[in-house]
């Protein structure tokens, strides 16, 4: 008989007052007892609506049943049939919009904590499993993967498990893509990403860092080197700015730069060689997960006050619900229905050599109200005439999305892109070039880790089928 309590078993977390000043993980994870208790809440529905909500269709009721029995390794095996990065997805998926949204228990009360259970299972496996990975026999085919973020790792993992020799080319010095440079330690510890990458290496996946495809090597050269297919998972590209005055002042960052300095370049560690503006009053413009990450990072780096400045209302915030809640608990101030119109800087008219010249001092904003719904059904924010006001600010972090990176497009003949610069692909990830597949943010623009992973898996399947077909001929 299922446990009919209407609420999820709470996730143990670090105290907000303490965690606002450290980079340790916020959520601490379920114990074995709590996990089994939470698993009791699953009704084991016949039609499994949750599975259809998962971009990689994990057999959710089946793995939860194993948790209920206390067979955690069994649960892990079920998850890993569909997901290559369970410890990552259990932490960063927006479950409330995916599997948990479809959960029957969510109709009256809270859905089953599927994400929390997934995380528990993956962590349990990482801590307890001693099973050695045995890579399958080499099938004689080589595939190149561009980028070691979620889509690239998922694609590489699936192909390697089928016997392909996969090489992943990474532009930066560390594998993991956005999981390493973008998502902060307190939400996704880097040791977890490193562990997932290590597992892939055991499947004979080679990871070549410091290789920028489109520059160091081109897609065409990869084919010359004997790769039979290429998957492009190069991720999102250049940050967008608002185009308002003052965005080039000192103290204005893109979220990508701010987070890269802190995460990848380790400015979050004391005595780091990487400079970053810390302290003072920080405004983060935007309302997505990246904005929440930037705001909470700024807080941990020692900011006095951190604002999220978002032009719609709390309802429309695109960030994961849990991240918004955590941010609020930590003391991030939400200035909603507010839009910046100008960033103000210091300028000493009497002394052009004044060292403070050119640094941010404030941000002029305007109040917004919600008007008619736009084409996506979200109510369009409109300016309230005459409502301008100025916020006292030292650092501004722009977190309003990215445009795809042009390096591969510019050096690959015949690769079709759409008007926003995203690579055009068919349903199974095939681009306009034979043997070239793509997925993740390089195709869709900024989206989620799990949808990128899903695209990597879809492409892996298509690549396998295409190469097998060639074999038959």
């Amino acid at each position: 008989m299922a446990d009919m309590s209407p609420k999820k078993n709470p996730m143990p977390v670090q105290d907000p007052i303490v965690r606002a000043h450290n980079f340790d993980e916020v959520a601490l994870g379920y114990s074995e007892e709590t996990a089994m208790k939470e698993a009791m809440r699953c009704l084991d529905c016949k039609n499994m609506p949750c599975v259809s909500g998962c971009p990689v269709n994990i057999h959710i009721p089946a793995f939860i049943a194993k948790v209920r029995e206390g067979d955690f390794e069994g649960a892990y095996e079920i998850i890993s049939m569909s997901s290559s990065l369970p410890a990552v997805c259990g932490r960063v998926c927006p479950q409330e919009n995916q599997c948990e949204k479809k959960c029957v228990r969510g109709i009256k009360g809270e859905s089953v904590g599927i994400g929390r259970l997934e995380r528990f299972v993956a962590d349990w496996h990482n801590a307890h499993s001693e099973k050695e990975v045995t890579p399958p026999e080499y099938n004689g085919h080589k595939v190149a993967v561009v980028g070691s973020g979620p889509s690239g790792l998922a694609c590489a993992g699936d192909l390697a498990k089928k016997g392909y020799k996969v090489t992943v080319f990474e532009a930066l010095h560390t594998a993991g893509g956005v999981l390493v440079y973008g998502i902060p330690e307190f939400r996704l510890p880097k040791s977890i990403v490193a562990k997932e990458v290590e597992t892939l290496k055991k499947y004979n996946v080679d990871i070549e860092t410091n290789v920028i495809i489109g520059k160091t090597l081109t897609i065409d050269e990869l084919f010359d080197m004997g790769y039979e297919a290429v998957f492009i998972g190069s991720g999102a590209g250049l940050p967008n700015f608002m185009g308002i005055p003052g965005e080039s002042l000192k103290g204005v960052y893109s979220a990508n730069e701010f987070l890269t300095r802190s995460n990848l370049m380790k400015a979050y560690k004391k005595d780091s060689d990487t400079p970053i503006m810390s302290g003072g009053k920080v405004a983060v413009v935007g309302g997505g997960n990246v904005a929440m990450d930037a705001a909470r990072t700024a807080l941990r780096l020692g900011a006095e006050k951190v604002y999220i400045v978002y032009r719609r209302s709390m309802e429309e915030l695109p960030a994961r619900k849990e991240e918004v809640e955590h941010a609020e608990e930590e003391g991030i101030i939400f200035k909603i229905l507010t839009n910046p119109v100008e960033i103000l800087g210091y300028n000493n008219p009497d002394n052009p050599r004044d060292e403070k010249n050119g640094f941010v001092t404030g941000m002029k904003c305007i109040e917004m109200e919600l008007g008619e719904p736009d084409e996506r059904g979200r109510r369009r924010p409109v300016e309230k005439q005459g409502s301008e006001f100025t916020m006292d600010i030292d650092t501004v972090i722009m977190s309003i999305g990215t445009s795809p990176n042009p390096l591969i497009k510019n050096t690959t003949k015949g690769l079709e892109v759409n008007n926003r610069g995203g690579i055009v692909v068919s349903e199974d990830g095939l681009t306009s070039r034979e043997g070239v597949y793509a997925g993740g943010d390089a195709v869709t623009g900024a989206a989620t880790v799990i949808s990128a992973m899903g695209a990597g898996k879809t492409a892996a399947k298509a690549i396998d089928e295409a190469i097998k077909k060639k074999d038959v001929k």
Binding site: A171, L172, H173, Y181, T209, N210, V211, I212, K215, T216, L217, G235, A236, G237, L238, P239, F241, G243, E247, S248, K250, G251, Y253, S254, N256, E257, T260, R261, L264, M265, K266, S272, D273, T274, P275, E355, N357, G358, N405, P406, L407
Partner: protein
Amino acid sequence: MYRIATKKVLNKSVTQMEIEAPLVANKAKAGQFIILRVDEEGERIPLTVAGTDKENKTVKIIFQTVGATTLKLAEKNEGEYISDFAGPLGTPTHTEGIKNVCIIGGGVGCAIAMPVAEEFKRLGADVTSIIGFRNKDLVILEEEFRNISDKLTVMTDDGSYATKGNVTQPLKEYLENGEKFDMIIAIGPVIMMKFVVETAKPYGTPVTVSMNPIMIDGTGMCGGCRLTLNQDGKKVTKFACVDGPDFNGYEVDFDEAMSRGRMYSDFEHHAYEKTCNLFKGGRENG
């Protein structure tokens, strides 16, 4: 890991190295740059390619010790390794249709200007070079420039060597005497590039400048290297790492670029001092 094949001290603050990096050596062209990290905890710094040796698969870099990272790099010796070396990044210098070029290098910018001048020479253009330094001790690459230039002028700010003054003086003389350059290419401190543009403006001679802003990834991801161009009265944001590093000098907002370049000067100074103390005793020319 990438091996330091050769190392040569050019003056007390400028060092030349050849780094073994076959893939980069195979591709790099004049005007492009690389990103390196000295060690596992180090920052990523961009350095312009100063030449390649395709046979030995090495890439030449020339750098000035200005911060903690360049100081750490300068302390490395031949045969030692650095942890990361990625590239080539940025677009190569535009050479098409340019038959008469004036190359202006300022200080360590000469290290970038030299391979550009070399490339023009190889393509058969007339190369007039003007190189400037603060003083005699800082002069680098004079011999190399002499070998590849049809005309060469060396300037020092204090007159301790060659002609006293800055690089815009000989440029102005050339232009006043009716010299018709197809292109002036200025590479050096931002302030120098700004004044080269102002000098050339009355004569309508096109100027290309090579911008070297603060960068992190260098691959078109972080946006730290952004600068503002004024194109047809409109302000346009560009990224030096993917759109540059070469830009039309008449469009660049130099004052903004200078201001942005000083964003971390306090921090840099502090980090340099810290690293400097670390090496104290083992270093003669501090």
